[in-house]
Symmetry: C2
């Protein structure tokens, strides 16, 4: 999928919502635990209840890896289910990978070919040869960590270099020499809405993947104000506030309600900007 197709999906769905499938075995309703693949079953309910409200799903790999091979199987099943039933959905492997070139190439193979995701999140610490292999598959995306939503983002990302440039801006500027608007996005936390305005000056056209709305305290309104561009340019992720909105066997209805609140707000914003 390229940036134009993603924008068209946003217009069609009137939404730039991404739901994080941070599916935690200890938090899913009890009646699902009897199934052979409870994590996949939970995801299936969430997906069927919300797919018309979202443009993307973002399985967080940690939740699957923590279950071992069975977790990995649930991930594969979830992605296959999405591909079969909702082929227009953008699938992001939230993996935060990055390694020397020959290893990054294998990760790219794992997430773009074996698992058939559209995008993968990447940690830039190891530099160009750790990112490059994720930029070589047409229609696939590297989503590079720039300024994350967590408190620890102050430790290194905000550290200024000799030219008074914080590391996250140095990462963005360097990454612009590696990829383009159709194969590269950046992670900018929703808790950093103030910095978004600054970042838009450096990358007016790129998509941002914005985590941190909901449980982490980021505000959708601010994200739209400071981050939106003339092709939307935003994928805003919410995870726990949607998928764990209710712990009973009505969880998928509660998830739909929470997703609807965000989608409606997004629709209003898109209208007010004349993007739909």
């Amino acid at each position: 999928m390229n940036a134009e197709e993603l924008f068209r999906n946003i217009q069609k769905k009137k939404s730039y919502l991404c739901i994080g499938l941070d599916t935690d075995f200890s938090r899913i309703p009890k009646f699902l635990l009897e199934k052979e693949y409870p994590i996949f079953e939970f995801n299936k309910y969430i997906i069927d209840a919300t797919e018309d409200l979202v443009v993307a799903y973002k399985p967080n790999l940690a939740f699957y890896e923590s279950m071992g091979a069975a977790g990995f199987m649930s991930l594969e099943m979830t992605i296959n289910y999405l591909r079969r039933h909702y082929p227009d959905i953008f699938i992001i492997a939230d993996a935060k990978r990055g390694d020397i070139g020959n290893t990054s190439r294998l990760y790219a193979n794992a997430y773009f070919k074996t698992l058939n995701c559209d995008a993968i999140t990447i940690s830039p610490y190891m530099g160009f040869d750790s990112v490059g292999p994720f930029l070589e598959s047409k229609g696939k995306w590297a989503i590079i960590l720039a300024l994350t939503s967590n408190e620890g983002s102050n430790d290194f990302q905000q550290q200024k270099n000799k030219e008074n440039l914080p590391l996250y801006k140095a990462v963005i500027k360097k990454a612009l020499t590696w990829g383009h608007v159709n194969n590269m996005m950046f992670v900018i936390g929703a808790t950093k809405a103030q910095e978004m305005q600054e970042i838009r000056k450096i990358i007016p056209e790129h998509f941002f993947l914005v985590p941190g709305v909901g449980s982490q305290g980021g505000k959708l309104e601010e994200v739209a104000e400071y981050g939106m561009n003339d092709r939307c340019g935003l994928l805003v992720n919410a995870s726990r506030s949607i998928i764990y909105a209710d712990g009973t066997n009505k969880f998928e209805k509660a998830a739909r309600e929470q997703a609807t609140v965000l989608q409606k707000e997004m629709e209003l914003t898109l209208r007010s900007r004349n993007l739909i």
Copy 2:
């Protein structure tokens, strides 16, 4: 395992060698492809042929993830095999993970509990809350990327801040406020032997995990000269130069030969430093 126990294993084995299990389906001998889990079978041959020469094995997660759930199963089987037959071996999950706190906690669970590894490599880009959860399990280790062996390490790791400190040194100094010599090591590439002397001034006592010897061009002699301390303080990894030394059905003998060359050189160095 704590640092003292690791040092005692180094003395017993007369080796600080770690073999990287970067097991690539396309590079393993043909006769193994008939087995149900060829990657596990390959690892088993390599392990049985080399375990008396090494103190650690380091499966590189990318190689297993690229095979999907079957690859993850091979990883579990490899670790279970090591735990059952060679309980003193130090097992490093080369995963380069790092995410917001609640997610890093799950990764710690995946690698320390589900998979029962001793250590995991961590990318520090997201700061303290992304590393902290890996420092909370007694006897388990976070191995933090500092100065890696690849060319891209120049992009950000060497970038100097306003105090003229390169990022990798800022990472090391900050990390010292999070953990100690019994739960934290640092990745310092073998291709950066010159910088090791400098780094030893900041962290005289911590273990270094040193990749990049062999195929990547790092020299064992220089690593020992600049990186060794009075408890050895080094785990030197070689992967491809050992496990793919020969592509025939004598691959494990060739692997043993290559590992022996390194072990013998390590033994001489340890003797010359009066560490054995």
